[in-house]
């Protein structure tokens, strides 16, 4: 895992999930035994509104091959409006990254509710497929020798 030796390369994907919807959706995927690729590493946060552009960029900088940010559907936010503010931040960042040449599919966003276990599994599959097609991340990756 995580090695960049070309043949056996498996991507590592960082997922920022909100506690109340998407993390619960990921749990439900488990409870329902929906299988998905093992490439994802979940970071649990209170709200998708906690996710800043800096964090997403830092994931890329740390060498993540893909990033997924997932929160409650608009209107479902446990903190009323966190995901709605976040949606604007994400939309702008998403476009800006694509603009400078970060491959679409490196950074992904989704809304997954607590009852959408299968959807969560689907999202992970989709993101993993995309990242596998893109290959190892090289852009904005920090290397120190």
């Amino acid at each position: 895992m995580g090695t960049t030796s070309e043949k056996n390369w498996e991507p590592k994907i960082v997922a920022f999930l909100c506690n109340w919807c998407s993390y619960a959706g990921a749990d439900l995927a488990g409870v329902s035994r929906f299988q998905y690729p093992p490439n994802i590493r979940i970071i649990r946060l209170p709200c998708s509104g906690r996710v800043s552009a800096n964090m997403i960029l830092d994931a890329l900088r740390s060498g993540a091959d893909g990033v997924l940010v997932s929160g409650c559907h608009p209107g479902d936010c446990h903190y009323i409006s966190g995901n709605l503010f976040a949606r604007r931040r994400f939309a702008l960042l998403n476009n800006l990254l694509e603009f400078v040449g970060i491959e679409p599919g490196r950074v992904n966003f989704s809304w997954v509710s607590a009852s959408e276990g299968e959807q969560f599994a689907e999202v992970v599959k989709e993101v993993t497929d995309k990242v596998k097609k893109l290959g190892p991340s090289t852009r904005l990756v920090k290397r120190i020798g």
Partner: protein, 351 residues
């Protein structure tokens, strides 16, 4: 010392010969890298425009970043937390087309960096091939700082263009060795060539500069009087505290050392730093002895014009004019120098 006359083709061939054992860098004259020192891959005489390129030669002496040491932080690693030397490719450099002001800066910085083994090693690693100035730009003022458009200080080999050909003079032993690589095809330098060079040097010496040897006058001045002079406020008023001047300045040699770690690996690097930034003097306690902009602006000039000459002799400025040309708010070091020179007691001179 050895001297040869080389036409453009000969220079190309010489570069090609030197490239056998050294990487050759010259300022790019075009493209996105314009003004930066780039690795030559095509060994013909590079096009070098009048005046100084955007980036100073100090980037070879203070690489951005320079890895000082490496280490591992993996607990299971037997060498965990033990420093090791960074790998080197073993190649040395030739820096080609260095203007006299830039070349002179290497020695000036060395005054302050005597104990800096990394600096000394980089001096050893980089051979300097200078190119004297046939045209003095409106922002140039090397003669006012103790230099000359025909200066050779800091160069291993100095080139002077005479009628489309270059008189190459070896200035050091290393220069001799390098120039030897052109011996087989270089032409003999005639006496008339030498007198042409001398004529240029004489012309440079007899320039109409108002200021000569500013360091002598500045050393005589009272430090605290200059420090408390009134003109700093107006400079601080417009200074935006960026580091354009310091990063472009060939004689700003301050640096920052940081440890970077990632995924079990670590390296200690040093990067150029700028005294214009509040962070430069920020203490761990949160206290900042130069927290005010005026303090930082003053420090930069006081360092160059007073502290440095008091300690080492010359002023820490080679008159390349980069800061004059590129300061976003037109802070003109020539004016500052005049203000300092003309400042007497509580007199008010405005830069």
């Amino acid at each position: 010392m050895k001297a040869l006359k080389l036409d453009r083709n000969a220079i190309g061939q010489w570069l090609s010969n030197m490239a056998g054992e050294r990487d050759i860098y010259a300022p790019a004259s075009d493209g996105p890298a314009k003004g930066t020192w780039t690795l030559l891959t095509d060994y013909s005489m590079p096009e070098i425009k009048p005046g100084v390129p955007a980036r100073p030669v100090k980037n070879f002496l203070f690489p951005q970043p320079e890895t000082l040491l490496k280490f591992s932080i993996v607990p299971t690693d037997p060498d965990c937390c033990l420093p090791s030397e960074p790998e080197e490719n073993g190649r040395k450099n030739v820096v080609f087309g260095v203007r006299p002001c830039d070349a002179r800066s290497i020695g000036l910085n060395a005054l302050a960096c005597k104990a800096d083994t990394y600096y000394q090693a980089n001096m050893d690693k980089n051979a300097i091939i200078g190119l004297t100035c046939s045209q003095v730009c409106s922002t140039c003022f090397c003669s006012e700082t103790g230099g000359s458009p025909m200066g050779t200080e800091g160069c291993d080999v100095s080139l002077t263009e005479i009628d489309g050909r270059y008189i190459a003079r070896a200035m050091t032993e290393r220069g001799e060795e390098l120039l030897a690589l052109a011996e087989s095809f270089g032409k003999e330098v005639t006496d008339s060539d030498f007198s042409a060079v001398e004529a240029l040097e004489e012309r440079a010496r007899s320039g109409s500069d108002e200021i000569r040897n500013p360091e002598e006058q500045l050393r005589k001045k009272d430090l605290m009087e200059l420090y408390n002079a009134p003109f700093w406020q107006e400079l601080a008023d417009r200074c935006i505290n960026c580091g354009a001047c310091t990063f472009l300045c060939p004689t700003c040699y301050c640096f920052d050392i940081q440890d970077e770690t990632l995924h079990g690996k670590g390296r200690r690097i040093r990067c150029q730093d700028s005294c214009m930034f509040p962070l430069f003097t920020l203490h761990a306690s949160g206290h900042n002895p130069r927290g005010q902009k005026i303090q930082r602006v003053r420090n930069r000039f006081m360092h160059k014009m007073k502290y440095f000459p008091d300690r080492f002799g010359p002023i820490s400025c080679v008159g390349c004019g980069r800061c004059v040309r590129d300061c976003p708010v037109n802070i003109d070091i020539r004016e500052v120098m005049r203000s300092l020179l003309n400042f007497h007691d509580m007199g008010s001179v405005t830069p």
